[in-house]
Structure formats: structure tokens, C-alpha cells
Amino acid sequence: MSFMPVILWTDALIFVLMVGVLALVWFIRRHEHLRAPWRVVAQRPMAMGAALVLGAFVVIGLLDSLHYRERLADSPADAPQYSVEVLSVFDALVSGLRTRQEKTYSAPLAMQLYAKEFLERDGETVRDYPRLQYGGAHLKHADEHASDIARRTLVGLTQGLAVGLLLFGLLAAWQARRTQTQLGAWLEVWTTGRLGWPGRTVVLVLTLMLLLAGMLIQLASGYHVFGTDKVGQDVLYISLKSIRTGLVIGTLTTLVTLPLAIGFGIAAGYFRGWVDDVIQYVYTVLNSIPGVLLIAAAVLIVQVYIESHPEIFDTAAARADVRLLALCLIMGVTSWTGLARLLRGESLKLRTLDYVEAARAFGVSHVRIISRHIFPNVFHLVLIAIVLDFSGLVLAEAVLSYVGVGVDPSMYSWGNMINGARLELAREPVVWWQLGAAFAFMFALVLAANLFADGVRDAFDPRLGGRR
């Protein structure tokens, strides 16, 4: 084997989460009353468009969660040795982006460094912008620059469009067969938007994403699309790698929150009495400590743990990963209280309903009452909380990294990018692309998440359901 798979803690949890989500999907598909609200979501163009964008992010994040260590080139076959650098499948896919490192800053799509240096030219020392080692290295003259970019953009767009059309054709053929209509008839229905699902939006968003991807792929093979950072790393690569960090924080934190919130919230509302008192006490205590302080303390504790157990964390990736996990854990611990309070209130109401009281009178066990009658009735609240929290958590990462208690400084994350960009903005001419890229990617993810969350909330919240 020429590589050794590495399963980081967060990888394992992400895949556990994936399995959980798939199981849930399977379960929901089999129950009509659970499918109904999702149909409502699926009919909303905005939510579906957002879901597609989210999907793209998730695919990148998942690919980036399959880690491995490469075997060293000349290590003996019987006792293979592996590099200490942990890579992912995503790294392998975009290995060009990763390895094409320049010396230092260069602007987006540039072919020269951003600062002048002393160069030996025709035996003379001059001060000029040196050419980049990779970016635009295939060009002989600077005047080909603009035309080459235009050409690549055009080729990329065309390729994207071609793939888009191909996919659309396949979709149309499949749908036409499924609904047993003529292809032309289906297309007509599609153009008028009477499909029953937002076909136009889906196709449009998909095509746009493909166009963008085609353009990026074409340009990135010859240039640094978002420029390079201080040590010459491609900013596009950094931004793409940060996706996983953002997703992990947004999802794993929720994974921690849910059992706490559901368990304590329902228990407090259902059992009342001293259980309620204890749980209320715990969450008032947790809630009243300023979150940043708790997070700072937890992150420091993990640091201490890592330092005292260096043998467990043999690679830099493992160290960074544990810190990320700890961040998710502690953010989960600080953020379950809101949902728990909501669930407590709801359970208090539910437990007084006739059929719940009847069940209790018949001696049905508490576990059964809760799982049969209480939990299903508060599930929509849980779901809404998950999607609403996600974007907030992604944004919180940036702020925490700024305060210095966020993810490991060696980790790729938007927070670290923004933190680094603080100094870059004081440069003149301003180095804006790292901040810009972090902004664009974060904005895309959070906006998609927010729009999707809106759709989910509208479909599930009974208070809003009737109005629209």
C-alpha cells in the first residue's frame, strides 16, 4: 500500500454524522407524515438553490475528511515508513494548487510577485517585479497575459456550459421517462415552472456552479486565481481547505448540543420536581458565564493535555484536529441551553395533554412516553434549531480565532485568514485578496445556510406554516 489511511477524530465523527443523516433520510422517506414538510422545503426555489450550494460545500468537506499519510518514496517494502504530513483525498485532487508555492505575495491572476526585488538581468542588478515560479509561467511575454486569461475564462465557461447542458439533457430524459411524457412536453412544463418542484432554479443554480467551476479549473491550472499569501501559498487552496473547518464547527457542535439539549430539556419539562431544579441550575450556571471565557479555558486545557501527551499526537494535523474537536465540544456545551429551555417549555405543555396523561395512568413507561409522544412532537423545534445555529457557529469561529482562542494557528480556517488579513490591510498597496477570498467563501456558505434554514423553518414551524 502506498499510503496509510489516517482517521482523525473529527473525520470519524463526521462519518458517524453522515451515517446518522442517511439513516434519518431513510426513516423519513418511509413515513408520509414526516415527508410532507420536506416536500414543502423542496418546493421552495430559494431553499433548493441554497441546498445545492451547500451540497457542493459538503462534498468538498467530505473529500477533505478522507485523510492519509503518503509512503515515503524509498522506504523498504517490508517496513514501510510514512510521511508525517497528513493529506486528504481533496489534497490529492487539487495537488497542483497545494504544491505550486511562490515565494511570497502575488495578486490574483498575476504573473509577477507583488513586491519588487533585486534581479540579475543580463548581468546587471535591477530592481523589478520578479516573475512568479508557477503563476503564468507558461507565458513568454507579459502582453499575452490578458488574452490568455480571457481565453482560459472562455474555455472554462464553455466547458462548464457543456457539462451543464449534458446534465440537463440527462435530467430531462430521465424525468420525461419517469413521468411518461414526451421530452418536448416535459421541457415545456419545465420552462413554465409547473413541475411541482423548482426545476428552473435547480438547473440554473447547477449551471452557474458548473460555469464557475469550469472557469476556476481552467484559470487555476495556470494562475493563482485568488493570489498567494505571505509564504506564497495559493489563497484559493487555503479557502477551499477552510471549508472543512467551517463545516466541522457548524455540524459537530450541533452533534454535541443535541443529546444534551434534548435529554436535559425534555427531562426537565417532563419529570419536573427536583430533576427540573437541578437541570435549571446547571443551565443557569453555564449560561451566566460569558461564553468566550469558557471557550478560552477549554482551549487552554486541551493545550495542556496535548503538551503532556505528545506521544498520542504524532503529527501536526492530529494536534490541530484535537483542538478543533475540543472547540466543537466546548461550543456545544455552552450552546445547548437555549434549545433545552425551549424543549423544556414545550414538554411542560405536552405532558398535560390528555393522551399523555392517559398513557401515564395506564402505567406506560417513561421512556416509551417520551420516545412515542413527547419527542416526535418537539422534533421540529430541534430541526429548526440545528439549521439556524449552523451559520452562527461558522461566523463565531472567525471571531474566536481573532480573540486567539479559536482553531489551531496552523489550521486552515477563515478565521485565521481574516486574522492574518488584519496586517495586510495596513500595507500599501493593500493586500486585499486573502480577506476578499475569506469573505466570499464564508459569505457563500453562510448565506446558503441561512436561506436553507429559512426554508426549513417556514416549512416546519407551525406558527408560520399557515400564513404563507
Partner: protein
């Protein structure tokens, strides 16, 4: 934005416009023509007590307020000590064990004690302060206050009466005793108790007194100190164990400045400490300035001390100084600036922006605002960019007397030890870490690749090719060039790691690098470190951690490679070589030798070198020592940082002096020019506001029209 927001903004702006100065002037209350210097501090000082303040951001204040006996000459290089409050720079008398006076050239081993008689000038007076205030009967007004009387005083200025007193020799002795006060934990107590006769014993006595009587105030006058005695009103005597020529440099630091006993009595009164009225926060000195406003969360203001004893601007200086206009004020009475305002500025962007707007008179340059300010001429000399020169901004450069290095833990089984193979491994790594590139990427050239532990400007440093480190560099055409990476590969192979693999087991060589990574730059720097060893096919695991954990590792000797630096306390090579002296090992002794380097030959030479006077003989010993540390390579000598500063055209008499900390008194500014430039540079740009208003109207208007139509229809 909504209408309300715009309204409020407009209201605020019109209020601002009512003021005469620029809208973004951060000093609204200051008169424009006053001789006030504006600068910033990035971290609030922790201690302003001269027995405790050590870091540069604290000495920046205490240096202007307190006056130790000696100071460095403002212009002369190499750094020269001159009298500040004393009649003359003291020369020690050497005594042997039985108390006989020895000649000045006596061997160090024969000297049992060095005696310094220090005679201060009469007539020097303290700044006005309530601690000195007396009533008509001559009693101290504020020495017996109760909690009720201090309850309404929150600042020193709240005390109605002030007084002053002449500086006497006893004040200096008092301060030396304070170094031993266990309640102050002076950072140099440990060091000085090795040198000053009886200081260690005094420390033990005071500690016992504190333990026996924890709530009582210490009366230092009741405890005699053999090593520091008052001779007469204006003379005191310090006795040093053996020979310690570097002691004279300590006499130029605020640690040896006078502290009046009245101040300690004053601040010890009930209720004072609760309002931060302590000597640690409210200094009482004889210097050219006193601390008039003390709000470390916002700003600190130094004002001219009306009782200042007077000093005049130096008249001696080199021709270069004369050319640079540094002698234009020669002979004028100091201080030249009436007031200095220091504002707290934690973030780089505001700091740099305010400098460019003319609101700070001078500024350091962070590596990231560098390109805007400085470019290099064809010869490699830094010069300002055209846009800066147009603004009449001037560049000040100086090589700091400090060193950054990467230490190897010499106790580590992989990289440590004095064996030949380990030595080669360290040499190979020294070549691989390309600090020339580091300097250009991260410091924008503000550093000099280090050739050894001694930075330029100190005795023992050899300029140019003659001083190169032959194990890492080589001379090519009279230039110092880093050895090629192949040389490092060869050394690595000889060390038993051909191509980065253990020759015996075939395992890859994995090294661990510990660093206190924080701040926006950290990630890039760590990436760069890894890149360096990739060249040798050696795997580097970077372990970033916080300050405490880092210190802990170094102390226990658990680190392998680590990054550290040292700032000179005084301009003597001893202050750098002692970091490598075996008996000062971090592990076990808790000394400053973080690499735990212990080479008997080096230790022997160090003991000889430290007591020698500067001269060819000392240079020879130093050269031998340099050869040993370069061969052993316990450190990768990274770089000597250069400090680049900028000043506006209206600031005069700036010459970097890395040793002196009391240079504020020499500075002069031209407030009229400053006012004109500030007005010119800070014209508000108004079109964005107008544009925003128009956009808002354009967005809302159609809706309002539509609604009107709708209303009319229904009506």
C-alpha cells in the same frame, strides 16, 4: 442604512464640523500650537516602580521620570556613559581580601571587592508631589491620613498641596535596599544579590521580617546594608564582590534611580492602594518629566518637571550628526518639549493610519506597512518611497542590540550532546534554515543574518567577511553567502541521516519545533519553518503553544528545537555569552541558558573573558569562544533585528540610541508645521455620504409613490 441612521450621522457630522479642527482629529481638546509630542504605546505598562520595571514599554516612561546616577551620551558611538546626577562617572577601587587597595590592573582573581564612591550633585530637587507637602509648622501634610481622608482622592492631582525636596545620597541607598524587598519581587534581585555585598542577607532578613509581621510596613532604614552606605549628604558607596566591570552599566538603569522614603510612606496609607495610588503606578522622580496623567487604559501624559535641575543639549557629536541637524540645538536647556502624550493603540491598522494622518509624530514600521514606506536602493540601502518623502517623512534605522535564535536542547537525545555526529546534524540544520529568506519575507529586510551570539555595536563583533560563521556561511567575492543546501545534505549524511533517514534503521528523521505561536503572522511562519526542512527531507512537526506551556517545556528540558531571543541589558558581550554558560543551565539551575549548552572549554574561557577590560586580549578570547559555539552550534543564529522607525518632518533630534531610555528630553517639534500638514492631510471626503443619501432616496421613492397612489385610490 435607514433614515434614522443617516439623520444621526448627519447630526454627528454637523456637530463635528462645528469644531474648527479636522473631523478625525483624535485630540479634540489640545491646543494646536502647543509643544506636545504625540506617540502611542501598544501594551499597558505593568510596573512603573523603578525596582520592578524592566520591559521596554515600562522603561519608556520610567526613563523620563527617574534619574539613575549615569546615562548614555545621546550622540556618541560606541555607547559612552556620562554623568546624569553625579559629579563624575565613578571608577572602582579594588581591594584584596584583607582590605588593601590594589592597582587598577590587578588580576581579577586577586580582587576581593570593588568599591564605588558615587558623589551626586547638590541642589537637584524632586518633582512636585503631595508626599513632600508640609504645613506651616513643617509637618508632613499627607503622611498620617486615615481612610476617610483618602476616600475622595482618586488621582494624585486631587491632593491640594505639593512640595519638593533636595535629592540626597540616602535616596539612592534606599532604592538599592528596595531591590531586596520581598514585597516588590524586583527582577534583578537574584542577579544583584550575587554581586552587591550583603544584599542577599538583607533579602533574607526582610523576608523574615515580612513573615513575622505580615501586615506591618517595612522600615528599610532599620536594616543596614553593607554594600550600599551613605558617606555624606551627597555621597554614597557601593561595594561589589570581586570584580564586576559590567556593574557600571547597571548604574544607568532606573533600577538604581533614587526613591524618596516620603513616597513610600505616603502610598502606604490606608485606602491608597485601592485606588491604584501606589509607587508602582505613580512615580516620584527628579527627571525632566513627571507623570501628569496616568490612565494606562487610554493615555499617559508626561509634563515638564518645573523643578528639573537643568541640563543642556550635548555639544559634542560627529560630523554626520552635525549634517543631520542633530547639533542644531546644541547647548539649549533641556527638555525641549513641554508635554508628551502617549495613547494606547493595540491594533496595527489604527496605529499606522494615525501616523499617516499626522496624529502620531513617529512610528515604528510593522513588516506589513513596510512596502508602503520603504524601498531599497540598488545598493541595498533602505530608503523611503516617493510618497513618503513627499510627506516629508524621515527614516531612522538602527541595528538593535538583540538576537533571535533557534535553540537546540542540548539534553535531547536526538539533537543534543557534544558528539561529532550531533554537531554535524546541528550544523546541517543551521544551513537549512534559510534566515536570509526569512528576513526578506517576514521582516522586509529589517534584519541582519546572525553570524554568532554577539550583535553589531558590541565589543567583539567583527564587521564583514572576517566575522562570518564558517560553518553556515562562506565568503564569495567579498560577500557573505549561505552555504549551499548540498553542504547541509552532506553533513546530514555524515551525521547518520543520509537523505533524512536514519542510516541504521531507515526511519525518517522527525524533529519537533516548539514555538509560542500567536498573532496574525503565526501560520505563515510555521509553514515557512516546515518548508525549510523539507529541503533536507527531514520532517518537522511544529508544536505551537502558549507562553506558560512553552516556558514549562524549556524549564524541564522537554523541548527539542525552540525559538527565542535576547535583548541586551548593557552593551557588553558578556550579556550574550552568559546565555551559553554551562553553570547557568535552565534545567536544574533555572538560569538563562535555555539550550542547556555546557562545554567545559567554553565555560573556562567565559570566566576569563567576563572580567577583562575591552582590548585585543579580550577580543582574542572572544574569537576563541565564537569558534567553539559556531562549531558546536547549540543555537541556529537567526538574525539581529534592525529597528526601522519613521518620523514626520516636524520632529527633530531623533537619533536611535538602543541603550539610553531617557531620550525624550532631547526631542523637539515644530507645532505650527504639524498643524498645517494635519489640516492638509485630513480633508474629509464627503461624496460617499451624498451618494448614500441619493441611493436611499432612489430605493424608497418609488415605493412611497406607489403607496400614495394606493392611498388616493382607497380614499
Amino acid at each position: 442604512m435607514t433614515r434614522t441612521g443617516i439623520l444621526l450621522l448627519g447630526l454627528g457630522l454637523s456637530l463635528l464640523a462645528g469644531c474648527s479642527d479636522s473631523w478625525n482629529n483624535p485630540y479634540p481638546d489640545s491646543p494646536s500650537d502647543a509643544s506636545v509630542l504625540y506617540s502611542a504605546f501598544s501594551e499597558r505598562p505593568k510596573h512603573l516602580d523603578p525596582a520592578r520595571s524592566y520591559s521596554s514599554n515600562e522603561v519608556e516612561f520610567t526613563g523620563q521620570i527617574y534619574e539613575p546616577p549615569l546615562q548614555y551620551h545621546f550622540l556618541k558611538r560606541p555607547y559612552t556613559l556620562i554623568p546624569l546626577t553625579v559629579e563624575a562617572v565613578p571608577t572602582p577601587r579594588y581591594l584584596d581580601a584583607s582590605g588593601n587597595v590594589l592597582p587598577a590592573d590587578a588580576p581579577a582573581s586577586a580582587i576581593a571587592e570593588s568599591v564605588y564612591d558615587i558623589r551626586i550633585r547638590p541642589g537637584i530637587r524632586y518633582q512636585p508631589h503631595p508626599a513632600f507637602a508640609r504645613d506651616a509648622a513643617g509637618r508632613y501634610r499627607y503622611h498620617a491620613l486615615d481612610a476617610a481622608a483618602t476616600a475622595r482622592k482618586s488621582r494624585i492631582g486631587d491632593f491640594e498641596h505639593t512640595g519638593t525636596r533636595e535629592l540626597v545620597a540616602a535616596d539612592y541607598v534606599y532604592q538599592i535596599k528596595r531591590l531586596a524587598n520581598p514585597r516588590l519581587s524586583s527582577p534583578i534581585f537574584g542577579l544583584m544579590s550575587e554581586h552587591i555585598v550583603g544584599l542577599k542577607e538583607l533579602g533574607a532578613q526582610l523576608e523574615k521580617a515580612v513573615r513575622d509581621n505580615p501586615d506591618a510596613a517595612l522600615k528599610l532604614d532599620d536594616f543596614p546594608l553593607a554594600g550600599a552606605e551613605v558617606v555624606d549628604r551627597h555621597t554614597y558607596r557601593i561595594r561589589i564582590k570581586g570584580k564586576y566591570p559590567q556593574f557600571i552599566y547597571w548604574l544607568a538603569m532606573p533600577f538604581f534611580a533614587p526613591v524618596p522614603w516620603e513616597a513610600e510612606v505616603f502610598y502606604a496609607q490606608p485606602g491608597m492602594a485601592d485606588r491604584n495610588l501606589t509607587l508602582d503606578w505613580q512615580p516620584v522622580g527628579t527627571g525632566p518629566y513627571y507623570l501628569a496623567e496616568n490612565d494606562p487604559n487610554r493615555r499617559m501624559v508626561l509634563k515638564k518637571n518645573p523643578h528639573f535641575h537643568g541640563e543642556s543639549y550635548p555639544v559634542e557629536g560627529s560630523d554626520e550628526d552635525r549634517e543631520a541637524g542633530l547639533l542644531a540645538d546644541a547647548g539649549k536647556p533641556l527638555p525641549l518639549v513641554d508635554e508628551a502624550v502617549f495613547s494606547l493603540e493595540k491594533e496595527t491598522i489604527p496605529y499606522w493610519s494615525k501616523f499617516l494622518q499626522g496624529y502620531y509624530d513617529s512610528s515604528g514600521i510593522s513588516s506589513d506597512s513596510f512596502d508602503q514606506a520603504v524601498q531599497f536602493s540598488a545598493g541595498g540601502d533602505p530608503q523611503l518611497t516617493d510618497s513618503m518623502r513627499e510627506k516629508d517623512i524621515h527614516l531612522i534605522t538602527a541595528v538593535a542590540a538583540s538576537l533571535w535564535y533557534v535553540g537546540f536542547n542540548m539534553l535531547d537525545p536526538v539533537v543534543g550532546g557534544l558528539g561529532e555526529d550531533r554537531r554535524k546534524l546541528r550544523q546541517a540544520l543551521s544551513i537549512a534554515f534559510d534566515y536570509d529568506e526569512f528576513i526578506s519575507i517576514f521582516l522586509n529586510g529589517r534584519g541582519i543574518p546572525a553570524q554568532g551570539p554577539i550583535p553589531p555595536g558590541l565589543f567583539g563583533y567583527v564587521e564583514g567577511v572576517g566575522g562570518l560563521n564558517p560553518y553556515v556561511y562562506e565568503a564569495r567575492n567579498g560577500r557573505i553567502v549561505r552555504r549551499p543546501i548540498d553542504a547541509a545534505k552532506k553533513l546530514l549524511a555524515e551525521a547518520g541521516y543520509p537523505n533524512g533517514r536514519n542510516a541504521k534503521t531507515g526511519e525518517p528523521l522527525v524533529l519537533y519545533f516548539d514555538t509560542m505561536a500567536s498573532g496574525p503572522d503565526a501560520k505563515s511562519r510555521l509553514d515557512w519553518m516546515k518548508k525549510q526542512l523539507d529541503k533536507l527531507n527531514v520532517q518537522l512537526v511544529v508544536r505551537g503553544t502558549d507562553y506558560n506551556r512553552f516556558q514549562d517545556k524549556i524549564r524541564k528540558g522537554n523541548a527539542q528545537l525552540f525559538e527565542w531571543g535576547w535583548n541586551a541589558d548593557y552593551p557588553d558581550p558578556e550579556n550574550f555569552f552568559f546565555l551559553l554558560y554551562g553553570p547557568h543551565k535552565k534545567v536544574g539551575t533555572g538560569g538563562e541558558n535555555a539550550a542547556n549548552y555546557d562545554n567545559p572549554e567554553f565555560n573556562r574561557l567565559f570566566e576569563r573573558m567576563k572580567d577583562m577590560d575591552n582590548g585585543p586580549a579580550r577580543q582574542q578570547v572572544i574569537d576563541e569562544m565564537l569558534e567553539i559555539v559556531r562549531r558546536d552550534a547549540p543555537w541556529i543564529f537567526a538574525y539581529y533585528p534592525k529597528s526601522f522607525g519613521l518620523r514626520h518632518g516636524w520632529v527633530h533630534n531623533v537619533k536611535p540610541n538602543l541603550m539610553a531610555n531617557n531620550t525624550l528630553k532631547y526631542r523637539r517639534i515644530d507645532p505650527v508645521l504639524r498643524e498645517a500638514r494635519r489640516d492638509d492631510w485630513n480633508k474629509p471626503v464627503l461624496w460617499p455620504i451624498v451618494l448614500m443619501l441619493i441611493t436611499l432616496v432612489a430605493v424608497i421613492a418609488p415605493a412611497v409613490i406607489a403607496w400614495r397612489r394606493h392611498e388616493r385610490k382607497t380614499a
